[in-house]
Amino acid sequence: MRKANPLNLNRLTPAEGRLLDTPPAPLPPVAMMESEMRSLIYAAGFCATASVAMAETPVLTVYAPDYFASEWGPGPAIEQAFEATCACDLQFVTGDVLPRLLLEGERTRADAVIGLNTDVTARARATGLFAPHGQDTSDLTMPIDWTDEVFLPFNWGHTAFIYDTTRMDQPPASFDDLLAAPDDLKIVIQDPRSSISGLALMLWVKAIYGDGAEEAWEQLQPNILTVTKGWSESYGMFTDGEADMVLSYTTSPAYHIIAEGDDTKQAAIFDEGHYFMVELAAQVAGTDQPELAQAFMDFILSEAFQSIIPEGNWSFPAKLEADKLPEGFEQLKLPEKVLFYSEEEAEALRGPALEEWRRALSR
């Protein structure tokens, strides 16, 4: 077996070390069994008996994407930090945040949501379920101005193609270079219909090439090794050496640098600029815990929350000065120019842009 291939690409020991500092202890097995039993009891329909004991502390329910609240995401640390100040119980409920909210409508149990993207905020806003966040967003550490009064940014990054310096000396310096690259340079991307990063790539190309986007996709097609459903498949194919470059984020190398001590994964920076991606939170207007929901909004831009983001979500915090970022982030290569569509533009563009994408790549 060759040395570089699949087995020893991801060194995890440093990450494990870091994990030990991350506070939330997983539930002990006994408690786990208990909760399982409970779910069974509920299933059988004997609903009444179970949840009596914990009625004392008020509960703040926050809907979040699965990755956010998993033990390797920022959720557990955020939960601990917030609970230290609020005398409440912060509970993350995971799943597909927006579809779930749309299905639940007014009856939703959510007091707040976190982890929405700009590509869904137009539809989220149209539900009228959300209340203003009430934060001053004039001094955020983001490359664009933010004036939205409902959706509050908590972290950001840019789309970028990641390459391995041991396999590629001279990455493309612009999107034009990438389009003109020889056919044997293979990239792997995500499907815009099933993946947020895939959607961002589609808008990135649209922002650079406008009406020529379809032509650009046609030129790119020979270089596209394949399109995957989600980011994980793509990234796995890249680290296994199957593809030369993978569509990911400018902040992805931070994981390899900090957790693995590996600086061979880098973002190729393109002259035309990179598409800006931001993740957002909002409070639900009909919450029965308005003070707690507001307190959570206030907490999001605090340093306690923001300093969890870099190594919890491997992205840039929305409000944290560069000198407070963990060591390793200063090594990240960042674009000079940032491309971004407002919510309305993105909503109007994504249908036609998807058609162009599909037509060009189906040929």
């Binding site: 995890l12 786990m32 033990e71 799943g95 597909d96 219909r193």
Partner: protein, 509 residues
């Protein structure tokens, strides 16, 4: 008794398939017309599913025959291991296949040839990799169910292998192959992540991806429901055709003697079987070896929560297996007494495979939400859905076994006045054991690895093992994820082996 349970099973299956579909439809804001693109997607879906199923079955026949007429050391282990691809999580299987057939895979590295896996060939390769084991097992069941006496008689009549093929094996294949084809066709029909990743681009869009798009990209529940209904329709037509083609075999019984194959003693046939088994094993086991190698490196990086998730997956698997066996036995006995309506019941039992997991999940959410917090019941629901998904496989194995037992011994048992539990215990159980063990093992293994309906509602503190594996991947911990995948593989295989072994105890195979 079996009638009541049979009806209950049918009700559950209808709820999971059409009930959830209706629930989704009830929340739709109008219907969007199905576009010409959707028809193109449908054509592609049918094309790739048919090809995948045909190839899987054609390759499975010689492999099953070779395995049926040879006895060798490690045969049982080989059969169990060869079943592994079927229960692998999609993402793990894709990376395992690419490690062999990919641009940077073993074959390309050794031969230096540029291998082009992406495209229809990639989809077929992956689908055959997934489904060849299942087809082989289903057909092998058929071979092993042929009474030893018939081979004795054939030998004493001086049958050559071609005579045996025509007189004994062909009628058996007529009975088993359409069913095997059908379930594989249906599995490939709803395949989505594989078709996309190995198909190389949006040209390889299946209906399931279109449903996903309607949900996630457009949030158009009406369109999602329509596409799901279209998927059911296609499944219904395919099911009707396949079940019509399957000729039930009416045969005389045997005395459950060990099978001795005098016809296969010829050295040329011996070499042929050895080559077929070796090729099959090579194709199925090399990507698996890569999965194991990748996972072994990550096995020590796995956090404790992975083990807790594994515990939860075992729990789901046990519940799902119990439910599935109860439904399958009830339906198999009930089906045996039915004349009219038999096709309907069999058809309904197949519905769950053709159902879109996304529609089931969303529909269940809509149905449950007014009454109970859906996250609290996510594990029992997962178990129930898995039981329904595995039911068609269980029925494929159980229905012929029940029919045959009843045909052969029913009158004798009647004459002896064997009824109720005694009849089940002494007449059926010994004869259904192999089919029961196989289907229980398959259900447990499938339930263990299923990500299923929990995309919309999961509970952060109650992840199952496959979900935990995805979470590890999403947070860049690919090596630990590979370790979790190995654990998942080991648990699934162990569950399969335990049940299957239980079913084969004292049997000659």
């Amino acid at each position: 008794m079996s009638k009541l349970t049979g009806w209950t099973s049918i009700a559950v299956l209808l709820l999971l398939s059409f009930g959830t579909l209706a629930a989704v439809l009830s929340r739709a804001e109008g219907l969007t017309a199905i576009s010409s693109d959707d028809w193109r997607v449908l054509r592609f879906t049918l094309w790739q599913a048919s090809l995948s199923a045909v190839i899987s079955v054609i390759l499975a026949i010689p492999l099953a025959r070779a395995l049926a007429r040879r006895q060798f050391r490690g045969r049982g282990l080989l059969i169990t291991l060869m079943g592994a691809p079927f229960i692998l999580p999609v993402i793990v299987a894709i990376l395992g296949l690419l490690a062999i057939f990919g641009r940077n895979g073993l074959i390309a590295t050794i031969t230096g040839l540029p291998i082009q896996i992406y495209g229809l060939q990639g989809i077929l390769l992956a689908h055959v990799f997934f489904n060849l084991p299942l087809a082989t097992r289903l057909i092998l069941q058929g071979w092993l169910a042929i009474p030893a006496e018939r081979f004795r008689l054939a030998a004493s009549l001086g049958f050559r292998p071609t005579d045996i093929a025509r007189q004994i094996e062909w009628p058996m294949l007529r009975e088993t192959v359409p069913g095997a084809f059908l379930v594989i066709f249906l599995i490939c029909l709803t395949s989505f992540a594989v078709a996309l990743a190995l198909g190389g681009g949006p040209a390889a869009t299946t209906i399931e991806l279109a449903i996903y798009q309607a949900f996630r990209f457009d949030f158009d529940l009406g369109k999602a429901a329509q596409l799901a209904a279209l998927q059911f329709l296609v499944c219904g037509i395919a099911g009707a055709v396949a079940l019509k083609l399957a000729l039930p075999q009416v045969t005389s019984g045997g005395l459950d003697r060990a099978v001795e194959r005098w016809d296969a003693r010829n050295p040329w046939l011996r070499a042929q079987d050895a080559a077929i088994i070796a090729l099959g094993a090579l194709f199925l086991l090399t990507p698996l070896t890569m999965v194991i190698l990748r996972g072994a490196a990550g096995a020590f990086e796995m956090p404790a929560t992975v083990w807790q998730a594994a515990g939860r997956s075992v729990f789901v698997a046990i519940i799902a297996t119990t439910l599935c066996m109860a439904m399958a036995l009830a339906l198999a006995f009930w089906l045996n007494t039915l004349n009219r309506g038999r096709l309907w019941v069999e058809g309904i039992s197949l519905l769950a495979i053709a159902a879109s997991p996304l529609v089931i999940g969303t529909g269940m959410f809509i149905l449950l939400f007014p009454f109970v917090d859906p996250t609290r019941v996510v594990l029992p629901i997962t178990a129930l859905v898995n039981a329904a998904m595995a039911l068609p496989f269980a029925l494929r194995a159980l229905v012929p076994a029940v029919a045959q037992t009843e045909a052969q011994f029913g009158r004798l048992a009647d004459a002896l006045g064997m009824r109720g539990f005694a009849r089940f215990r002494y007449l059926y159980l010994p004869r259904l054991r192999r089919a029961l063990g196989f289907s229980a093992g398959l259900t447990a293994a499938l339930a263990m690895g299923d990500l299923g309906v929990i995309a919309l509602f999961s509970d952060p503190t109650r992840a199952t093992l496959p979900l935990e594996m995805y979470r590890l991947m999403e947070s860049y911990r690919l090596e630990a994820a590979a370790g979790a995948a190995l654990l998942l593989l080991a648990l699934s295989l162990l569950a399969f082996w335990i049940f299957d072994k239980g079913g084969r105890a004292n049997a000659d195979a």
